[in-house]
């Protein structure tokens, strides 16, 4: 999914945006949906469809093109790639944070494997000793 394929269109689907931002390696659609929920990507929900306006998306991607007048103009392709890389990094960080949250707090809707594997909470349930020591002294 290239800039040109989105240009001239009003809206894109979540899948198309995931492909577009992934640049060859599509992002998970859930990553895009999460970014929408957090207001990082504007979207309009109509019935079961999620419509992502293309203009703000392209504006976000092409923002690095807006350089100071004295700066030499960077090649457009590099600027797009750089912006894409930044956005992709942010979305992956969001994914990682979300995974951390689900591991630690156990999101039942996301399956139980992640929740079981995390040894979190073990220290919290250790009984406190009155002397604060091990009792051997």
């Amino acid at each position: 999914m290239s800039v040109e394929s989105l240009r001239g269109r009003n809206f894109a689907s979540v899948r198309e945006v995931a492909e577009f931002l992934g640049d060859g390696e599509p992002l998970d659609e859930r990553t895009v949906r999460r970014a929408i929920e957090q207001g990082q990507i504007p979207a309009v929900k109509v019935g079961t469809k999620t419509l992502i306006p293309v203009a703000p998306l392209l504006a976000m991607i092409q923002a690095p093109d807006i350089a100071p007048a004295e700066a030499p103009p960077a090649p457009a392709v590099d600027a797009v790639s750089a912006a894409r890389e930044i956005l992709r990094g942010a979305l992956r960080a969001l994914d990682a944070l979300s995974g951390y949250h689900e591991r630690d707090h156990g999101d039942p809707s996301e399956g139980s494997a992640a929740g079981q594997s995390a040894p979190v909470g073990g220290l919290d349930v250790l009984p406190l000793r009155p002397n604060g020591g091990t009792g051997a002294a």
């Binding site: 009003n10 809206f11 504007p42 309009v44 929900k45 109509v46 019935g47 079961t48 469809k49 419509l51 306006p53 203009a55």
Partner: protein, 85 residues
């Protein structure tokens, strides 16, 4: 007397705000916004919890949504037209 009108003011203001929120663009504009956004009658109807035929009637101007639906319809049309730029 003045106390009574002061008490009635807030509900009257709320009503005026509701009426304003339910004010819809012309039927032709409703249809234009939907088609420009590439949304089908069915999807629009699903969002508004009505039948596609009802949305079609609203777009032809042969019927008008009641207040709650009109507010939801207006909100959706506003969101779409804002997104369309």
């Amino acid at each position: 007397m003045s106390t009574r009108s002061a008490n009635l003011d807030p509900p009257a203001r709320e009503l005026a705000a509701e009426v304003a929120a339910a004010r819809l663009p012309s039927p032709a504009v409703r249809r234009r916004i939907r088609t420009k956004a590439g949304i089908g009658l069915r999807e629009m109807a699903r969002h508004l919890d009505v039948t596609p035929m009802t949305v079609q009637r609203w777009e032809r101007g042969t019927s008008t949504p009641r207040r709650d639906r009109a507010i939801a319809y207006r909100r959706l049309l506003d969101e779409l037209s804002e997104a369309l730029g």
